[in-house]
Amino acid sequence: MAAEKMSLSKAINASLRTALETDPKVLIMGEDVGKLGGVFRVTDGLQKDFGEDRVIDTPLAESGIVGTAIGLALRGYRPVVEIQFDGFVFPAYDQIVTQLAKMHARSLGKVKLPVVVRIPYGGGIGAVEHHSESPEALFAHVAGLKVVSPANASDAYWMLQQAIDSDDPVIYFEPKRRYHDKSEVDTAAIPGPLHAARVVRPGTDLTLAAYGPMVKVALDAAAAAAEEGKSIEVMDLRSMSPIDFDTIQRSVERTGRLVVVHEAPVFLGTGSEIAARVTERCFYHLQAPVLRVGGFHSPYPPSRLEDEYLPGLDRVLDAVDRALAY
């Protein structure tokens, strides 16, 4: 296949296809992932090509999906399960937190659970309640899980390959409102580490860190700021557990300022940890407190309000301005 321009959702589809082809132990499980190809068509065509035994339409029960995936992993399989929407992961939260995350430690390393939990997440698609949430902090706080989110098609492809290859459980958050965004994917490339942050636009005045759906907003903000003569370094964090603090630190030591953006509520969102730890690491370099832009302490609002709720260009630039004003 090699390099090809494709949408983020197609890249995930291609990645799943590669995994199914390469490793007979890989399974796809979830609600409507088979014949329908998922409500976002991310698994389109996979059941047709790999059969109902490998691409499995499950009963409507998320705890059951994750719980049986754990059992399948214990038997040597590598299940990739889909949770249909962010807000529907909570029935499975117990299995994820008390079993999936802890069984490796419980067994003193004897048991490995290479389970990937794919969750389309975030807002901006005009959906009803429970379809637009960003619960990543609720997973990143839990030891035993790894949590990642790609922001573009290439990362979507490669990070999923790496997540499936990992012997640890990985929560793989898919920025659903970027499903249709296209970019180059080189399936023959040698990918960088799964948990490394990446500078996607260099700059000197301030570091703007984002991940998943907000990377695009951050890049747009940096472009807008550039027109006003501000040089913003944009970082795609890519991984929320672990967070690549070394890369952030190197950037902040140069720029002296950090703004973190995510869709999830600010209060106890991943930005809080980043702010706390970066302040510790860069106390004498910071010219301003680390500022955070994110969701409010409210349920995700009705969709007619989401443009106000979601951090957009203006709110990011506002934070950038405030940080630069120190």
Binding site: D32, L60, S63, P91, V128, H297, P302, E308, D318
Partner: protein, 388 residues
């Protein structure tokens, strides 16, 4: 507009006589299942020893009217979605009998916990149809006061409401009230742990709750076989209460069975499960494309069992309604559709600051802080613009 509304028009002509035996027995292993039916697809009344019912002509016309208006409202909502007035719509097309039959079985003091598709039940409860559209338009997450009509808000997380219904019923029992609770869920929902837990709690506490499962054969793209290998009504027995399967396209059977179950519950005999065997004629929601996973033949087959048509046949044959009646109902349907259409189009977007309201009943310092910051942030634009 009559029964032949937009969404349901095309295949009805395929005739009412097609035999459905083979198909049905596929879903219902022989001998295992008895389907309560009081009105056949051909519009014939049949007797049932346990579930007798003798509605007056007035009542029959009422049920017919409810179904027709509900279908018309539903079709209008689908249209409004296509026109961009709604973000999404979950159509009840095909399930009118299950909803009107069960909904009209309720007493005022009873309480209902719906899923997101019980527009017909909402109608029976007197909820203004327009109010149902707020969440689908994206202006709110639920636009009515549940206590005004004893009709809880729609619940989207599958199965959750069955536990709320059970708890509510436990409260009804504590109060010694002469009331019961009706909890709706789907065939897909039957797999959720919460539904099983609601069966356990209701049985252990003998709570006055009736579980009404609309088995519309599909959970999005998954047929009922992906949720169970035996008929769903049988699930109840292992929890210690009765289950019954009713023809979900037969409004009389749904009414009779639900009435009996609610009365059972009100008189301290505990929970009961009703499986209404029906069919989702439309897409799962307007976002769905059912052609990817089911055959047109299946839908055509179910067309022959249409819940509205069979009652119309009865009304006509028995001379209980004449052309004038149907014409008047068509006018009423059109008026309803227009009222809803106008109301939706006039429905304003919420104020930005509404984001910060009703998160807590007693207030919360962080919400106050964020509200103030956001107001200040917004004011900064006004100032900036004014500055220009």
């Amino acid at each position: 507009m009559t029964v032949e509304s937009t969404a349901a028009r095309k295949p009805r002509r395929s005739g009412a006589k097609r035999s459905t035996t083979t198909r049905d027995t596929k879903k219902q292993p022989a001998g295992q299942t008895e389907l309560v039916q009081l009105l056949t697809p051909e519009g014939e009344r049949v007797e049932h020893p346990e579930y007798a019912i003798d509605p007056t002509p007035e009542e029959l016309r009422g049920l017919y009217r409810d179904m027709v208006l509900t279908r018309r409202f539903d079709a209008e909502a689908t249209t409004l979605q296509r026109q961009g007035e709604l973000g999404l719509w979950a159509s009840l097309l095909g399930q009118e009998a299950a909803q009107i039959g069960s909904g009209r079985a309720l007493n005022d003091a009873d309480y209902v916990f719906p899923t997101y598709r019980e527009h017909g039940v909402a109608w029976c409860r007197g909820v203004d149809p327009t109010n149902l559209l707020g969440m689908f338009r994206g202006v709110n997450h639920g636009g009515w006061d549940p206590n005004s009509n004893n009709f809880h808000l729609y619940t989207i997380v599958i199965g959750s409401q069955t536990l709320h219904a059970t708890g509510y019923a436990m409260g009804v029992a504590k109060d010694g009230a002469d009331a019961a609770v009706l909890a709706y869920f789907g065939d897909g929902a039957s797999s959720q742990g919460d539904v099983a837990e609601s069966f356990t709690f209701s049985a252990v506490y003998n709570a006055p709750v009736v579980f009404f499962c609309q088995n519309n054969q599909w959970a999005i793209s998954e047929p009922t076989e992906k949720q169970t290998r035996v008929p769903l009504y049988q699930r109840a027995q292992g929890f210690g209460f009765p289950g019954v399967r009713v023809d979900g396209n037969d409004v009389l059977a749904c009414l009779a069975v639900t009435k009996a179950a609610l009365e059972r519950a009100r008189t301290g005999q505990g929970p009961m499960l009703i499986e209404a065997f029906t069919y989702r004629m439309g897409a799962h929601t307007t976002s769905d494309d059912p052609t990817r996973y089911r055959s047109p033949e299946e839908r055509e087959l179910w067309e022959t069992k249409d819940p509205i048509l069979r009652l119309r046949t009865l009304l006509t044959r028995e001379g209980l309604a004449d052309d004038a009646y149907f014409a008047e109902l068509e006018r009423e349907s059109d008026a309803l559709a227009k009222r809803v259409r106008d109301a939706v189009r006039a429905m304003p977007d919420p104020e930005d600051m509404a984001m910060f309201e009703h998160i807590y009943a007693d207030g919360h310092a962080l919400v106050d802080e964020e509200r103030a910051q956001f107001a200040e942030y917004q004011a900064s634009f006004v100032t900036a613009e004014e500055g220009i």
